[in-house]
């Protein structure tokens, strides 16, 4: 995408009918570190790559609990993500208070999308620079949605956003048809395997990823590092047997590539 004379304001159309500021906002999502979501009939798993500014700092939080039955993973400008998570928590708790009943995910997602749309049609605002993977449970089952800075939202069986998410998406595309009937454990394993795809050569360790689960009879919660490591151990130790399509195993590489490729990422994006 190149600079042009129609990209200064979000309220300026290009001659070809595009709003460049909105598209640039979507670029910001691609710069953030990867976030992945998958769902079965009864569970939703959200996972993200832990990225830290430097070795000295802690990693950025990318997955938030919105309610017992809703969680959200973000990629892009985390400050925008935090603010939207607070909005979602507020909507959810207000609904629970008035109706003593959990807010259906689909309705929350629409409100979120409408909020994002407003920022694409006001000259004094800018679009939110964050993509949200909203996972939740309601009367009609488990759902996973992706909310875009453009104000669009889509429902998915599985999706990945952020940098190097294409590798994860390729993995998920091969496997998604079985997800609906997946067990909770298989779903978690697939999420971690998808995360591994985005690391591209780096050794997969439990300290590098955050995994969260929610499901029928299981309120949203994070998996602890030990549980994640146990799942990793089931496939990291027997490379050839567990692979689908035979990607190179990361163990041999041992090169800690960590943050090497990310020097050109703005500090505010994670």
């Amino acid at each position: 995408m190149f600079r042009n004379q129609y990209d200064t304001d979000v309220t300026t159309w290009s001659p070809t009918g595009r709003l460049f500021q909105v598209e640039y906002a979507m670029e910001a999502v691609k710069q953030g570190s990867a976030a992945i979501g998958l769902r079965s009939r009864s569970h939703v798993v959200l996972a993200s790559v832990n990225k830290a500014q430097s070795e000295l700092s802690s990693h950025q939080r990318k997955i938030f609990k919105v309610d017992d039955h809703i969680g959200v993973a973000i990629a892009g400008l985390t400050a925008d993500g935090r603010v939207l998570s607070r909005y979602m928590r507020s909507e959810s708790i207000n609904h629970s208070f008035t109706y003593e009943s959990p807010l259906p995910v689909g309705r929350l997602v629409v409100r979120l999308a409408d909020k994002a749309q407003v920022c694409t049609q006001r000259s004094w605002k800018r679009p939110y620079g964050v993509g949200l993977l909203v996972g939740g449970l309601d009367e009609s089952g488990a759902h996973l949605y992706y909310n875009c800075p453009s104000g669009n939202y889509f429902e998915y069986q599985a999706f990945a956003i952020g940098s190097r998410s294409q590798a994860a998406k390729t993995y998920l595309e091969r496997r998604f048809e079985s997800f609906n009937e997946s067990s909770r454990e298989d779903l978690i394993k697939d999420a971690i395997l998808a995360i591994r795809e985005t690391l591209q050569g780096e050794t997969l360790k439990s300290s590098l990823c955050t995994v969260s689960v929610l499901g029928v009879d299981e309120p949203f919660h994070f998996l602890d590092q030990d549980s994640i490591q146990k799942v990793i151990d089931t496939f990291e130790n027997v490379p050839e047997e567990e692979e689908d399509g035979g990607e190179a195993e990361a163990e041999a590489a041992a090169a800690e590539q960590g943050g090497a490729g990310d020097q050109d990422v703005a500090p505010m994006e994670m």
Binding site: Y99, E100, D138, E139
Partner: protein
């Protein structure tokens, strides 16, 4: 100003005016609207029970204007959405106002068109919030509401009063029903009543109310809500018995009295 004296448990009377804050910086007594002080046209008891397939609710069709039994065709039970039934005693106009609120609620719920729908629990809690908030502003909706329903096989029966007191139970009653019907229900209600037994039990309660509640009339409806939906019966009347010996010749023991 007319003041009604009545022994009906729903009423209590405030004898002073409280101005409503409209946001005007200068408040004049005449410009302010008054808050609800006392009810005008009222419905008497509602009685409701859970039974095998759902909930049964009974009410008479009377609207009293003080001690006058003025209106005799008031439906005090209405279906709300697909899963709920609302019965009200107290001020009829406030009941109609509540129906308008719920109409909007159900409309918006339907407009989502997303497979989710408001169940009786949600409606009950919404009403609790409305009633309690009005009470906090010293401008109550002068009703005691009974909310019954069935969703996903689960029966629900609850009550909200004009001051926002809210709870669920297997059998509820409003007004005089609390004093006359509930003792009967405490003794004779049990889980998994058949439809016929449920109706018989409600009729027993309604008959006692008819004999003893001055604002009751002998024209009642029984409503049923199950997983399939709501049905409100056609109005009918209960058989009563007045041939007690003492009624036949009331002055037998005291000539000259009446």
């Amino acid at each position: 100003l007319p003041v009604w004296f009545s022994i009906n448990a729903d009423y209590f009377f405030l004898q002073f005016t409280i101005p409503i804050d409209n946001g005007d910086s200068v408040k004049t007594a005449e410009a302010d609207s008054q808050r609800t002080l006392y009810p005008y046209v009222t419905g008497t008891s509602i009685v409701a029970i859970k039974y095998k397939d759902g909930v049964l609710m009974a009410s008479d069709m009377g609207g009293s204007y003080g001690s006058t039994l003025r209106y005799k065709n008031i439906e005090r039970m209405k279906a709300i959405g697909k899963h709920s039934l609302l019965g009200a005693s107290g001020e009829i106009s406030d009941f109609q106002e509540i129906l308008r609120y719920l109409d909007e609620l159900v409309l918006n719920d339907n407009m989502w068109d997303d497979g989710n729908s408001l169940g009786p629990k949600e409606v009950h809690n919404y009403l609790t919030r409305v009633m309690y908030n009005r009470r906090n502003k010293f401008n109550p909706l002068w009703n005691t509401l009974v909310l019954g329903g069935v969703k996903n096989g689960e029966s629900y029966l609850g009550m909200v009063s004009m001051i926002g007191v809210s709870f669920e139970d297997n059998h509820v009653a409003t007004g005089f029903g609390n004093h006359l019907a509930r003792p009967i229900l405490r003794d004779e209600w049990h889980a998994d009543l058949s439809f016929e037994d449920g109706v018989k039990l409600l009729e027993k309660c309604m008959r006692v109310l008819l004999y003893r509640d001055r604002s009751a009339i002998n024209k009642l409806q029984i409503a049923k809500i199950t997983e399939e939906g709501v049905t409100v019966s056609q109005p009918y009347s209960l058989k009563t018995f007045w041939e007690f010996k003492a009624f036949n010749n009331p002055t037998a023991g005291a000539e000259g009295s009446w």
